[in-house]
Symmetry: C2
Subunit: 146 residues, 2 copies
């Protein structure tokens, strides 16, 4: 993760939604807006095992997340790498995502894996191996995407 600059780390901390892209069964990208948390190594997304995005990751082992700011010039970057669906020890990661959704200072108490399994909750984790299309985050970057 040495390639993640301080600016990129601050950018990930400062935002909470991104556009997830997974590889659908027909080979086409599948996009959706998700809340994320991150633990300094992995991007963490709370979803349900029955969702297409979870199935895509189970099948392909890969995902990317495009995060952008909400005001012009819309700073953005795309983080991608190996992805997996986690079902064990996911209470804290799930609570982190819930905290980001609620915007509260502290996360809620973590739920047990059993309680999360009962509502089909899993964590989609992306190990960030590549950062691309970085725009307006470092001072010398420009939009290369339009």
């Amino acid at each position: 993760m040495g390639f993640l600059t301080d600016e990129l780390r601050e950018f990930l901390d400062a935002h909470r939604v991104g556009v997830l892209a997974t590889i659908a069964a027909d080979g086409k990208p599948r996009q959706s807006v998700v809340y994320y948390a991150w633990d300094g190594e992995r991007l963490l997304i709370s979803t349900e095992s029955k969702r297409w995005k979870a199935r895509d990751v189970e099948r392909s082992g890969w995902a990317s997340l495009c995060v952008r700011g909400d005001e012009m010039p819309y700073p953005s970057a795309v983080f991608s790498g190996r992805a997996e669906i986690l079902t064990e020890d996911i209470g804290p990661a799930t609570a982190s995502v819930m905290q980001r959704i609620a915007g509260t200072p502290e996360p809620p108490d973590p739920q047990s894996d059993e309680a999360l399994a009962a509502i089909d909750r899993v964590v989609l984790a992306i190990t960030v191996e590549r950062v691309a299309a970085v725009s307006y985050i470092a001072a010398d970057e420009r939009r290369d995407g339009d």
Copy 2:
């Protein structure tokens, strides 16, 4: 385009950036933030022929665009379909995109195809054939993406 509801049309009118997904040569999704315009049938993006996104579209003939609002609950939808790179009669479409970037009431005077070719400008056009992951746009929609 009968499947594009009035709410979706208004949503496309009210926003101007989205996350484009194309299919890279290795089969993985490639995402980037782009400004778009649309003519009621096609989503129009001004880019350069040398960009990876343009090459992806030339090769695969497909793209999707995820548009989201900038405030909670982050309304969003993903528009996808056949895509192509246009180089003829692209002055008005290019001017429309420039108008969205500048936020001006009227588009600038369209440039000629020759002038745009001289700066490598092309238009990436997506014919919207499918809308997915619609969240918080119609009253009965919910986020299905997190």
